[in-house]
Amino acid sequence: MVTIHPERHPEHHRQDTAPPAEGHADGGPDMVQLLTPDGERRHHPLYDADFSAEQVRALYRDMALTRRLDVEATALQRHGELGLWAQLLGQEAAQIGAAHALRPQDFVFPTYREHAVAWVRGVDPLQILSLWRGVDHGGWDPHEHNFGQYTVVIGAQTLHAVGYAMGAQCDGVVGTGDADVDTAVVAHFGDGASSQGDVSEAFVFAASYNAPVVFFCQNNQWAISEPVIRQTRVPLYQRAAGFGFPGVRVDGNDVLATYAVTQRALQAAREGQGPFLIEAYTYRMGAHTTTDDPTRYRSSAEVEHWRARDPLARVETYLRRTVGADQRFFDDVAAEADELGHELREGCKAMPDPDPLRIFDHVYAEPPAELVAQRDAFADYHASFEDA
């Protein structure tokens, strides 16, 4: 890493500490917002949608349940039942809004934090926990849910998404006008990942082939300890312009807005209008993962600032005040969350350790003789302890 010495490079130092626009905690005037932190409905000339009461309740319910999933998983890690957990706390609106905009035929390429997207795609949350417990690398079938494997190498999956989208183009399932056929792909990534070469290459390929892919960047302000100003001097959504496709910043804590913007972007992609970049401006309320101590690099004032922008609170206000949801609805959701929490705790603890011979499974379609021999030798060795 380059260390900038302010004495020697005063101009660099100024830029380093006072970047042009980034770090603006309110997202700036270009940010699409349909529901204010106080629960007031706003309208937008381009990105808006009509939401039925039932739809708003469904969005709220999924946010509440996935928040519980996150809280339970964090607790399970504290109790030693999970090795690690990457918290989604604070990013529920970004993920639930984006996921609700999907059609079944669309395909999602996640990072390691898209638990709420996985939930909406019908992935059994225990199949997510099994990854963090160390039982497997993710227990779900990507092709059953059109939801890919979690990808830990940051940014790598954005290229997979573009390739998949290119394949959809070749298959003729883009721009047919048939809502059940036309397909788009979502590539999730973070503000930190935006600096990766793979992400830039994904933008280049997507633009070059006009691929039906929506790049969904959750700018949660932090990449572990590095603030977003370390990654970019311009708002991330503006990068799209340089690659030749539209980019929009949306209030990532506003589920109506993330839904509306994603829905528009996906529809454009499905119609054959090519890629789209969405920057969901949000905040990681928790630690990076359960091993992280965010007090070492960020202030409690900042966290409080964002707590006042909680993604669930504003929907609750909106539901109670405007849409119409009585206490019973909230009680039912809470009861459902309790039940989910119970299932997760029990299910996680009941997961058996995998047979160590599973180490050797699925390395190849046709395992080489040498690998089979290695497996057999280990099986004998292992069995010799059981006999003893």
């Binding site: 790598a156 997979h160 998404a161 070749c170 298959d171 793979d198 040498e370 690998l371």
Partner: protein, 352 residues
């Protein structure tokens, strides 16, 4: 596998109009054999797509994809942006969508921007997904030196891929293998790093039987069998097979009979034929252009020692590139194993 020479399209046929009907052999350079292999694979399976830098209109800098764009169109012969991680990474997505991408990396030294995608994504996707997401991908890399090139155009990165579980690594050394191995690699459901000895692309023609593959893909082959007493077993692959064969001819004039084995598959290794030969000869010499330190030769030596310990008269010796970066081309002849260095190794082996 259908072996017929397909007669579709137009432009490509003119290029290959010396082609014979089905079931007959053809005399081809390695470059033409690979080209025909790709062509026939694309005809055979509409899910096969070719992608890389300059593979379309130009037909590749070595012309290995010549004519494919004309015959199969831009959806299947994809000129990509100049970004190797992008090429391999998007190929991963295409494979997930049911395609069989054949990726061309323009030169050995330019594979490294894609290294992460190859070792972390391509190699592990099947494992990560418990078998649900296969990666039937071929990554073709022209490799090896001896062409008087500038830096990054003469390297032998095979060990870096052979060391990665989940990948298979093969290399051809003659036109018949070029045609058949590329077809077999494309049909393989595992990702295959396919190394092509670029020095030999245009360096002579050989007979290629088009009606049946000469053998399985993941098998080594004795290319110079010796009846009776064997002085030493020489193991080579890709560009060094020819070197080994020449050394064997020279040695035979001196009364030494060298049995030469073309390893062909570097991961997995197929060493049974090697063990069989070494049990007769008691001596083994591995020849490759790659650096000897932790190279394929080291693995072959370790395994051969384990399997043939009581048959060995001398340690397994390695002849290869020095443990330096590939030198400037005016020095490459000294760097590359040649006939004399192979014969020197035979002498050293006999001296034990």
């Amino acid at each position: 596998m259908s072996a017929g020479v397909s007669v579709v399209g137009s432009g490509h046929l003119e290029e290959l109009d010396d082609r014979s009907p089905v079931g007959v052999s053809k005399t081809l350079t390695l470059a033409k054999a690979l080209n025909l292999g790709l062509h026939d694979a694309m005809t055979h399976d509409p899910k096969v797509v070719v992608m890389g830098e300059d593979v379309g209109t130009l037909g590749g800098v070595f012309r290995i994809t010549d004519g494919l764009l004309t015959d199969f169109g831009a959806d299947r012969v994809i000129d990509t942006p100049l970004a190797e991680a992008g090429i391999v990474g998007t190929a991963v997505g295409l494979a997930m969508r049911g395609y069989r991408p054949v990726v061309e990396i323009q030169f050995d030294g330019f594979v490294y921007p894609a290294y992460d995608q190859i070792v972390c994504q391509v190699a592990k996707m099947r494992y990560r997904s418990q078998g649900r997401t296969p990666m039937p991908m071929v990554i073709r890399i022209p490799y090896g030196g001896g062409i008087g090139a500038v830096e990054h155009h003469s390297e032998s990165p095979e060990a870096q891929f052979a060391h990665t579980p989940g990948l298979k690594v093969v290399t051809c050394s003659d036109p018949a293998d070029g045609y058949w191995m590329v077809r077999q690699a494309i049909e393989c459901d595992d990702p295959v790093v396919f190394l092509e000895p670029k020095r030999q692309y245009h360096s002579g023609k050989a007979e290629v039987a088009l009606d049946a593959a000469p053998g399985p893909l993941f098998a080594s082959r004795v290319v110079r069998p010796v009846d009776g007493a064997v002085t030493a077993t020489v193991l080579a692959y890709g560009p060094t097979v020819r070197t080994a064969l020449r050394a064997a001819e020279a040695a035979s004039a001196e009364g030494h009979q060298l049995e030469v084995i073309d390893l062909r598959t570097l991961s997995p290794l197929d060493l049974e034929p090697v063990y069989a030969s070494v049990r007769r000869s008691g001596r083994a010499i591995v020849v490759h252009e790659a650096h000897v330190n932790l190279g394929i030769g080291a693995e072959v030596a370790a395994r051969t020692t384990e399997e043939c310990f009581y048959s060995l008269e001398a340690p397994v010796l390695r002849v290869g590139g020095f443990d330096t970066p590939y030198p400037a081309s005016r020095m490459e002849e000294a760097f590359l194993p040649d006939l004399d260095r192979v014969l020197d190794a035979v002498d050293r082996s006999l001296a034990f």
